[in-house]
Amino acid sequence: MSIIASTGILNHVDGSSEFESHSTKVVCSVTGPIEPKARQELPTQLALEIIVRPAKGVPNTREKLIEDKLRGVLTPLIARYLYPRRLCQITFQVMEAGEPELEFSQRELSCCINAAVLALVDSGIGLLAMASSVPLAIIKGQLVVDPNAQQLQESQSVHTLALEITESGKNVQNILLLDSTGAFTQNELFQILSQGEERCLTLVQELRKVLGDRINSEIIRTKT
């Protein structure tokens, strides 16, 4: 259950990342803080423009919904008070959905969250915490962490969990997102939270490693 991720892959934006897990692959770019349009401007905080573009076809309500959920996750993560009357554009391009797009968006959503964390760090925009996200599914009463496309289709319920993580990726601070659909019991939900938390913690370590590797490879060279 490995991920492939890298940062700083694009040249004309302030931060960028690529995040791949199973067959789902997302590229994220961050531009900001920049001058906003008048209607976007917030007097005391950084405004966020979040754009999700699907692998196939034009964006529609499905992508708008993902954008909305992402906004809910990313807004509390960014130190927005640092950049009043500025704008940050966060753009996601889904390269491969890795799930049947008509029914599911869980995999894309959680990959977008992870990619966004990497790209935001890469852009140098102030963050209050790290975050990571994982999709989960319950198949025949059995909990599956990070299900693939096939597993999603066999599931009774699907869930996306995103957690705010602090203290070098050791402490789970808050739940940023819990998005569950399908039929499930309260018990199953608790199970989802505990197993999801476990996975999120390891994932955040992996994200930290990706970032660390990048810093090591670049900073050391410039120091010498």
Binding site: H12, V13, I51, R53, P59, Q89, M95, E96
Partner: protein
């Protein structure tokens, strides 16, 4: 473009002065196309093309649809090129009414769709009622100039690479066979158009350009972003290996001598030849990689059967 990127006057002057001395900022010669890197994704018709710092992703998808009433024997083919700020802050999300965006969309349209690069008649399933609708989604990931040329390469490579599911037609009933059941079939590609864009600079006054006879205008191939922002005019020539001009677009800009435009067309042809070969080689290589795997599977099956 939404926001104009602007460089300082001195930087602009430096680039133009260098051009007057036959030099480009990235060290290329005037006629040098950037190296093109083509990568395939996991699925058929998923291609990423990188040219210098320009990166384009193209994704082909297909579904069954109803053909247009006036063209019952043809399938549908749509190329979608929507911009997003990912490629650079000058792009607005989904807004393709800017001058450059419109030209880009129209030229790709003419180069690929109008020129019949894809055999749309081969997409017909049941005349008048069912056909394949092929969709090419072009995603601009990173823009350092040459979006049009790179997009054309990406679309053509992806079309060559793509395979649609096999189908069986019984009367009006169409059965689509999942790709793991039956080997999917490639699209019919009739020719491979390649776009080559020239950027023109006027090293002198406008008066000299209009009335003089020095013809000293500078033409460079495959400009990067900075060069694009400074250029006085542009020409996009689309050719294929059959020595056919597919499309030429010089939509205004710096007036250029007709003979030098012809020269540009011939230069574009050598690039077309080279790129066509590269595209075909890449597709073939990827195909054989996949086939190796498929071959392994089929030999296993063969063993099972015995």
């Amino acid at each position: 473009m939404a926001k104009d990127i602007e460089f300082s006057t001195s930087e602009n002057k430096f680039i133009l002065d260098a051009l007057r001395q036959n030099l480009r900022l990235d060290g290329r010669s005037f006629d040098q196309f950037r190296d093109v890197d083509i990568k395939f994704g996991k699925e058929y018709g998923d291609v990423t093309v990188t040219m210098g710092k320009t990166k384009i992703h193209c994704r082909i998808s297909c579904q069954i649809a109803q053909p247009y009433e006036d063209r019952p024997f043809e399938g549908l083919f749509l190329i979608s090129t929507e911009t997003s700020p990912m490629a650079g802050p000058q792009f607005e999300n989904g807004n393709s009414t800017g001058e450059d965006e419109v030209l880009c969309v129209r030229i790709i349209e003419k180069a690929v769709r109008r020129s019949g690069a894809l055999d749309v008649e081969g997409l017909c399933i049941v005349a008048g009622s069912k056909c394949w609708a092929i969709r090419a989604d072009v995603h601009f990931l990173d823009c350092d100039g040459g979006l049009l040329d790179a997009s054309c390469i990406a679309v053509m490579t992806a079309l060559l690479h793509f395979k649609k599911p096999d189908i069986t037609v019984l009367g009006d009933r169409v059965t689509v066979h999942p790709t793991d059941e039956r080997e999917p079939v490639p699209l019919g590609i009739l020719h491979i158009p390649i776009c080559v864009t020239f950027s023109f600079f006027n090293p002198q006054d406008t008066e000299e350009n209009i009335k003089g006879d020095s013809n000293a205008e500078i033409a460079i191939i495959d400009a990067n972003l900075k060069e694009e922002l400074l250029r006085d005019g542009t020409l996009t020539v689309t050719l294929n290996k059959n020595r056919e001009v597919v499309q030429v677009s010089k939509a205004g800009g710096l007036p250029m001598d007709a003979l030098s435009l012809m020269e540009n067309c011939y230069k574009a042809y050598t690039i077309t030849e080279k790129l066509t070969d590269q595209i075909l080689a890449c597709v073939k290589e990827d195909d054989s990689k996949r086939n190796q795997y498929a071959g392994l599977l089929s030999s296993e099956n063969a063993r099972d059967a015995t």
